[in-house]
């Protein structure tokens, strides 16, 4: 019957293609191939990481750089496939910002087995073999934000957090740092920790709900700028701008302008270009067999109305 023929043809095809493949392993180019795989490329943060990385690659004529990412941060398996394909090409070095910190580990093992150095970017993983980690100390950032809020509300009152997707390490770390900062102030009560998936619209919705359930909340910490800006919209709609302390994280241009205008109080600044640049520099070093630093903290800074003009340049 015809269907059986179908199978035979499929098998014949498979065999032919494999045979062809076996005889044609390609030769490598002489340039160093460095590949940066981010979680996504759909926000200002990742685009700035990308431009920093490209700056580093331009500085070295012996390097070619590709920046790849799954379509969305949630497509973890797509990111794994991209990495597998790059490992197969035996690229010189990888820089990876993992979309899933546990899910990524098996493919990192494959990179190691193939002898490819891996620099972890922005989001740390529990994997002892990483060549280097380039990012910020999110926990410290969270703690600084917490301390700022503590001072701004005079050490007592209700506070709330709008956080990103559960299970993402950077988000967890910022929250942990924040909790540490307020732990020793009995006057401060953390009344709500609500997820808003790092989205602006959800951030606004969550803020509105909080204003209903906790009308006496004094300060809100959004663990990224998108959610904080959503909360800003909600406060504006309720004419509460400036009456509730609002702190974000990332220092996007929009958030900085909001601080300048007095619609937000502070953000924790990251330097994404520096992160991207440094990650690629370390990856190049590793590819050339030069020594690298195990852990590179790019650092964060608290931005308030006082110093915002520096960051807005």
């Amino acid at each position: 019957m015809g269907t059986r023929k179908h199978w035979w043809m499929a098998m014949a095809l498979g065999a032919a293609v494999l045979a062809a493949g076996a005889c044609s392993r390609g030769a490598k180019s002489r340039k160093l191939e460095i590949v940066l795989v981010t979680k996504a490329l759909d926000s200002e943060f990742w685009q700035r990481i990308k431009s920093g990385a490209e700056e580093a690659a331009r500085a070295d004529p012996g390097v070619s750089l590709a920046v790849l990412a799954p379509a969305q941060e949630i497509n973890i398996d797509q990111q794994v496939s991209i990495l597998e394909d790059q490992i197969l090409k035996r690229v010189s070095a990888l820089a990876v910002s993992p979309a899933g910190v546990a899910e990524i580990v098996p493919v990192l093992d494959k990179a190691r087995a193939a002898g490819i150095p891996v620099v972890i970017v922005d989001t740390d993983v529990r994997w002892p073999y990483q060549t280097s980690f380039v990012g910020i100390d999110n926990r410290l950032g969270g703690r600084i934000a917490g301390e700022y809020i503590l001072k701004a509300i005079g050490g007592k009152g209700k506070v709330a957090v709008i956080r990103g997707v559960l299970g993402v390490a950077t988000q967890e770390d910022r929250l942990t740092g924040f909790r540490e900062a307020i732990a020793n102030s009995p006057g401060v009560e953390l009344v709500a920790v609500q997820p808003a998936n790092s989205e602006r619209a959800l951030g606004m919705q969550v803020m509105e709900n909080m204003l209903t359930s906790h009308p006496d909340v004094k300060a809100v910490f959004g663990t990224n700028d998108q959610m904080a800006l959503g909360a800003k919209e909600a406060l504006e709609a309720h004419h509460l701008t400036g009456k509730i302390v609002l702190v974000g994280f990332d220092a996007t241009r929009e958030a900085l302008r909001a601080i300048q205008a007095g619609a937000m109080n502070a953000v924790m600044a990251q330097y994404p270009e520096r992160i991207g640049k440094r990650a690629i520099e370390e990856a190049i070093k590793a590819a050339r067999g030069l020594p690298v630093e195990k852990r590179i903290d790019i650092g964060t800074a608290l931005v308030t109305k006082d110093n915002v003009s520096q960051f807005l340049k």
Binding site: H6, V17, A20, Q72, D77, A102, V105, P106
Partner: protein, 319 residues
Amino acid sequence: MSPAALLRRFGPLLGLLALCAVLGTLSDHFLTFDNLINVFRQSAVNALLSLGQLVVIITAGIDLSVGSILGLSCVLVALLLKAGVPPALAVLAALGIGGALGSVNGLLLTKLHLPHPFIPTLGMMNVARGLALVICGGFPISELPSSFRFWGAGSVGWIPAPVIVVVVFCVVFHVFLTRTTVGRDIYAIGGNPQAALLSGVPVDARLILVYALSGVTAAAGAIVLAGRMNSGFPLAGMGSELDSIAAVIIGGASFFGGVGTVGGTLVGALIMGVLRNGLNLMNVSAYWQTVVIGVVIVAAVWVDVVRKRAAEKGRAAVN
């Protein structure tokens, strides 16, 4: 067989061959032994989902919940393993859970008389994904036993274990659809449900079975994916329902039901896997990949339409 009939049967396969040839010339890495094995492994999860989706689409239905059932099964199997359940038992339990969730789809469709399979499976898509997130609090459950990881990451000789799983499922589904009376009933339901009912086909029972099978293949996909990633994670299979539908349609099945083969579907899944892999090797961004796959879906169906119209014309000329 006439040339036209040959073209129809092997159209998707010819498309796959042509695609391989093109990608082979564009990328030195594509036609290597390692990479082709790699493609097979990467296509395994979609191939499994597509088999279940195929059976559903043959009945003129659609299953939007396969990605979410995969996610929920992925989390549950990891929880079972963490609770110390032996891997073999956990695998069976996951398949059972997937089948049960799928049969809920079928029951909602047939017993509540919901107007279209779109509705119950859209509901299940949200419910299962939500439960997956709730159960594990959003965190992945990692560090699974190595005997379980075999199904996703292991291999026998140079053949990856996921490929073996896919081949076994393909053979079983092929025999089921073409050699059993139940398989014939399923094609009849898709061709004309009214005539099938009046010929004694227990339509409701068959539909429930069909959606249960789709749940089982989703769970099989979950086992492979969890093994591959060494973790049960709640976001597993996000959006993969659409990939599975695309593979089935590229493989020559019809949304109107009654038509579709396991071989075609497998080829459809491979076409998608090969495309993604080839574009990755050429460092094409994920956004452009999405565009290309969209074009391929429409083109595949359009070729089918053109071919059919030509066949009709040929027939009219003979008569």
